[in-house]
Symmetry: C2
Amino acid sequence: MKGNVIYGQSGGPSSVINSSALGVIKEAFNNPDDIGEVFMMHHGIIGAINDDLIKLSKDEEKELDKLSHTPGAFFGNVRYKLQDYSSNRKDYLSILSTLKKHDIHYFFYNGGNDSMDTCDKINRYLIQAGYPCKVIGIPKTIDNDLECTDHTPGYGTSAKFIANAMEEIDLDNASYPQGRVIICEIMGRHAGWLTASAGLASLSGYGPDLIYVPEVPFDMDKFFIDVKRIYQKKKRCLIAVSEGIVDSYGSFIFQVGKKLDSFGHARLGGVGQVLCNNVNDELGITALPVEFSFLQRACCRISSAQDQKEAEEIGREAVKLSIKGVSGKMICIKRLSDKPYKYELTTADLNACANYEKKMPLDMIDVEHSFVTQKFIDYALPLINGEVENRFEDGLLRVPHIKGYNC
Amino acid sequence: MKGNVIYGQSGGPSSVINSSALGVIKEAFNNPDDIGEVFMMHHGIIGAINDDLIKLSKDEEKELDKLSHTPGAFFGNVRYKLQDYSSNRKDYLSILSTLKKHDIHYFFYNGGNDSMDTCDKINRYLIQAGYPCKVIGIPKTIDNDLECTDHTPGYGTSAKFIANAMEEIDLDNASYPQGRVIICEIMGRHAGWLTASAGLASLSGYGPDLIYVPEVPFDMDKFFIDVKRIYQKKKRCLIAVSEGIVDSYGSFIFQVGKKLDSFGHARLGGVGQVLCNNVNDELGITALPVEFSFLQRACCRISSAQDQKEAEEIGREAVKLSIKGVSGKMICIKRLSDKPYKYELTTADLNACANYEKKMPLDMIDVEHSFVTQKFIDYALPLINGEVENRFEDGLLRVPHIKGYNC
């Protein structure tokens, strides 16, 4: 069935979500017998609801190629919880109206577990409404917490940023006769995959001394003992900590770990600041917090070529399968081996991927709960591999400028 | 006169100080008629005072090549104010003893304006003591605030990091239907060169809306008006601010700009946090601070090939000139043209470079005091140009491991 394509981006940006967009766009342009026009939702599902679309032209293919190294969600993302059909018919009718108006019969949605829930709901609605449309989910999240897939596009590049940043910071700190305790706070409220990637730096001979993830309880007293021991021995100490680490009761350390200042007020700040304050007070050692903030998810200047390649392949695969009649699925990566790294693309039902959070297995975390195991290194190392060339012009990342959209 | 070489690193690290070290080392190895052994001071002048040296071997040249993409000050830096000879004879006698013991007649010191002061003092002392030794200063600072040179090695790479980081953050922020006010705090207590480099991002079509440097007074009321106007128009606002911006009385904003919280206590944080708190309170808009912290000076993963090349050339030039008998000088870069970018290496007297801080000229700052001018762009753009290849192995920066030193 010939029809037009719609594609949307959803949830927090990753460094390679636009590579998946590029895969969809290129494969759609490559299949003129099946696909006519290519539309992007402006700000994800809100764009479909409001008929706010960006129509792409094959004439702009050269400009669109720059998507492979463009940070952010270039066509606009959104965090919007699509209600059940019974609670909010209006959204579904608006989406259907947009699809009909533009003769769209291929629907691709690129995001994490919440976005797969949106995608699943739309698929079930369209079947019920009798509107012929292939619906496929394209995975994306730097957090790597999606079920059904070995890993998610976006994770490899953020992991590479974090591993190299930890190496850089440790070498900087090692310059001084007396270094510092430096505590790097890394994204991940419930899953430690990103923070764990700091451990890859150890292959360089530098990197973090201690790594704390939310999957296992954080012990403040043991933390003090470890920091003191390492600092006395090395004259420096580098720590990677997930924003969402918890104590043995499951309470967030950034909430319960705070000591009061001399006026009896709780100090402000995330877990990095909280731990630094505690190290200063308890051990009398100056500790400095570092937050990677937006840089850890917008780090196109240090993309993993492997990650970018997989992101684009998955976008292409979504289009290929939809043309073959597949629908209601998310594209998944199945790992075949670590060394050499081999994988194949598969699919899973959208409702099997939606809403679940995949955490790190305990055999990737060391028994002391303060580092990663070799099993994690073997898992993560292939995902940060390879450099992307020709991204810069005059020393700056160059991104697409599309007529009528951003220029 | 044949003799051995000593080289030391001093002050805060930069991303290319180890490229200057590599230049010295390679050029020294290349001149066996004039130079015998090559010694590195362990932690700068303290290493010379304590006879704590690292002797390098030509056999390790391949490993040493990795210095070109190694962050930090690989041989150890130091912040040590060498007193005048009249105040502390002991240090000078210790240095002389080390030089004599190891038959050293070539002395190279790599750092900023304080380090050039150290270098100048040692040069004058050795002349007075009648010890034959060529003494040459090698410039380095990410702050770009050294006199006598068009720019300093280290600035280009940090400027490239900042420009690309600002572009990445703006694209991330642009993803959302409603973006945020994001305030990036950048190093530079007295000179705005680094913060100004954020303006280079504008060539990509993205980047900061407002840039504030310490050379001109910061006006809080005008700041609120500008942020409000930009946020209303663009639904996002990105700001680059030097840590050392001051008000019209010359007082640091991070000290005087703080509002009291509802309990009457001054809030903590640097200027980024202070401005965010004020935007939240005054405009009712959520503002988030970002600090680039160590990443802005240890960013070897995004080195400017031009900066790295110049850093190595300057190290080589120091050795070449010293063999020709030059002493008491710092190597300088003289710009011949912006487009195409051309330069030559010259020298200046050490005492002309020592201790002074070069600030941005006012014609590089716009009349509104909230952005840079085209003159700054033309000045800085050539310095961030070119990519460095082959720095990674399995996705990680690979750094030297020298027997008896760090392995």
